[in-house]
């Protein structure tokens, strides 16, 4: 879900110069460095009912974020975005701009160039970034528990549920969930390797 936004930011960072670029650059990468719980606290303050964005959403659109499934998405998105952006940005920077320029002289507009030249040539880096981001989201704990809580059936993620089961002594359920996470992780990594291999031989 964060891929379009992540790619847009990565492309802007790689190909354009604009005011405040270094600030956005730093902000995007911040969740990588900060303790997840601290990031969660910041999000809690911003998106809480009395926070600047959360307040607006609650008053105007009647949408609550904190302690709902939206908070889970928000936390996972913010935490995993830097991984996608960083690796996609490098991938974009490695695409020879000459290809894009010549595509334009062949009559392709910006969007067509982006989707038919830039993205395919950067595909490996983008894919690697998506896998990393996915992995991060799967394991994310700190920020999620801060702003989504751990409401069973509502805002419980795999990691949160395993932690909770172990805390409650329900080891067999924890192991079942562990199995699920192993299968998920294995499938994701295997699929990415498969895609990479296919690109290489093509």
């Amino acid at each position: 879900m964060i891929t379009p936004l992540g790619l847009a930011i990565a492309w802007l960072l790689a190909r354009r110069d604009w005011l405040g670029k270094s600030i956005v650059e730093t902000l995007v990468s911040l969740p990588l460095v900060m303790p997840p719980v601290a990031t969660g606290l910041i999000l809690l303050k911003i998106f809480g009912r009395r926070g600047p964005i959360g307040g607006f959403l609650h008053d105007q659109l009647n949408v609550d974020v904190i302690f709902t499934w939206r908070a889970v998405l928000l936390a996972l998105g913010v935490m995993s975005l830097p991984l996608l952006v960083r690796s996609a940005r490098v991938a974009f920077e490695e695409v020879n701009p000459r290809f894009e320029q010549i595509a334009r002289t062949l009559g392709a507009g910006n969007w067509r160039v982006f989707f038919t030249i830039t993205v395919p040539l950067a595909a490996r880096g983008i894919l690697a970034g998506m896998i990393l981001a996915f992995a991060r989201a799967l394991g994310e704990f700190g920020a999620t528990i801060m702003i989504a809580g751990n409401i069973p059936g509502k805002t419980s993620t795999l990691s949160l549920a395993i932690f909770q089961d172990v805390q409650l002594g329900d080891d067999s359920h924890a192991f079942r969930l562990l199995g699920v996470s192993v299968v998920l992780a294995f499938t994701a990594v295997w699929f990415s390797e498969f895609l990479l291999r296919r690109r290489k031989t093509k």
Partner: protein, 356 residues
């Protein structure tokens, strides 16, 4: 075709590209040493780069006018561009590369039919291959075809032969002349090789250090450089149209006006050629001298002498204008003076024949 480049100014690393020329011929060579700003100029025309100031008009359409803040985006310019590195898209097949431009211009009525282009450039056997499986010359032809299939109104070629070795060059040149003759598309042809310029171009723009030093028909510029800078670069040599009258055992008999010369036969079957002789390759001796192995002995009259450093440039009338470069002591020894008769010797291998 008319291409107007007015008031162009683009700061580059070592100098500012400043050009003010109008181009009218079918094939115009942008001729200059590497680093003269040739590629930057093409980028400007294609709209890939933005100048400090520029006015660019192709036929009746203004493409760039910085004074009015106008710049047509590259994909709407209808200008084909074959860059030096060709930029064939590595993730697409040859066919997809070729069709890239046809798709995007959206017309069902391209300027040049796919089959026609494929036939002229002989790329049918390559179409189902991957780009990485092509040889240098094949890549070159695919890149040319791809640019043509986008139906451009002007083709920009950046040193299309620079990366090829001599035999391959000789093979690609006919394709370029075919494009010129079959599709009648105007081209700007960037090169630093005068034989290429001579073989292909009608007009030439000499670009050195970002300045267009001279513009005009190729022969005029090569034979009558406007300044010492141009002369230094185009290497002021003897350059005359001639006709091959006979080819025998690898030797060609070529006639310039009434003078007959012997040269090595060129690879082409063309009969109409440019005869090129470098000044250093012309030997002078007193009018009466014993026979030697040199094939071409011409009786000539000294028209003018000009000292250039350690050398003297001798302009001769040998039935056609002939230039010799000799050392100053040699000039003194021969007691050369304007109006005197002398014998000029040119070895057959020193005479280059370039098809015209």
């Amino acid at each position: 075709m008319s291409l107007l480049l007015k008031n162009i100014s683009l700061p580059l690393e070592h100098f500012t590209l400043k050009v003010d020329v109008a181009v009218r011929s079918r094939i115009t060579a942008i001729f200059g040493p590497s680093g003269a700003g040739k590629t930057s100029l093409l980028d400007l025309i294609a709209g890939l780069r933005h100048a400090q100031s520029a006015f660019i008009q192709l036929d009746d359409r203004v493409l760039t006018d910085t004074a009015k803040g106008l710049s047509v985006p590259p994909h709407e310019r209808g200008i084909g561009y074959v860059p030096q590195d060709l930029a064939l898209f590595p993730h697409l097949s040859v066919r997809q590369n070729l069709l890239y431009g046809c798709k995007s211009n959206g017309t069902s009525n391209p300027l040049f039919a796919f089959e026609h282009v494929a036939e002229v450039l002989e790329i049918q056997p390559l179409i189902s291959r991957g780009v990485t499986e092509l040889s240098g010359g094949e890549k070159q032809r695919v890149a040319l075809a791809r640019a043509l299939l986008a139906s451009p109104r002007l083709l920009l070629l950046d040193e299309p032969l620079a990366s090829l070795d001599a035999p391959l060059k000789a093979k690609i040149i006919p394709y370029l002349t075919r494009i010129r003759d079959e599709f009648r598309i105007p081209m700007l042809y960037v090169t630093h090789d005068r034989l290429e310029a001579l073989a292909l171009a009608d007009e030439i723009v000499v670009l050195v250090n970002g300045r267009a030093l001279q513009t005009g028909p190729v022969l005029d510029v090569f034979n009558r450089p406007a300044s010492a800078d141009v002369a230094k670069f185009v290497g002021m040599e003897t350059l005359q149209p001639g006709n091959i009258t006979e080819v025998n055992e690898g030797l060609a008999t070529v006639k310039i006006r009434d003078v007959t010369l012997t040269a090595l036969a060129p690879d082409t079957t063309a009969r109409e050629v440019f005869v090129c002789i470098r000044g250093e390759d012309v030997t002078l001796e007193q009018a009466t001298a014993p026979a030697s192995s040199v094939r071409n002995r011409l009786t000539a009259r000294v028209v003018a002498l000009r000292t250039e450093g350690a050398l003297v440039r001798v302009e001769l009338d040998a039935g056609f204008p002939l230039f010799a470069l000799i050392t100053r002591p040699a000039c003194t020894e021969l007691a050369l003076r304007e109006g005197e008769s002398i014998t000029a010797l040119v070895k057959a291998p020193a005479i280059h024949l370039v098809p015209r």
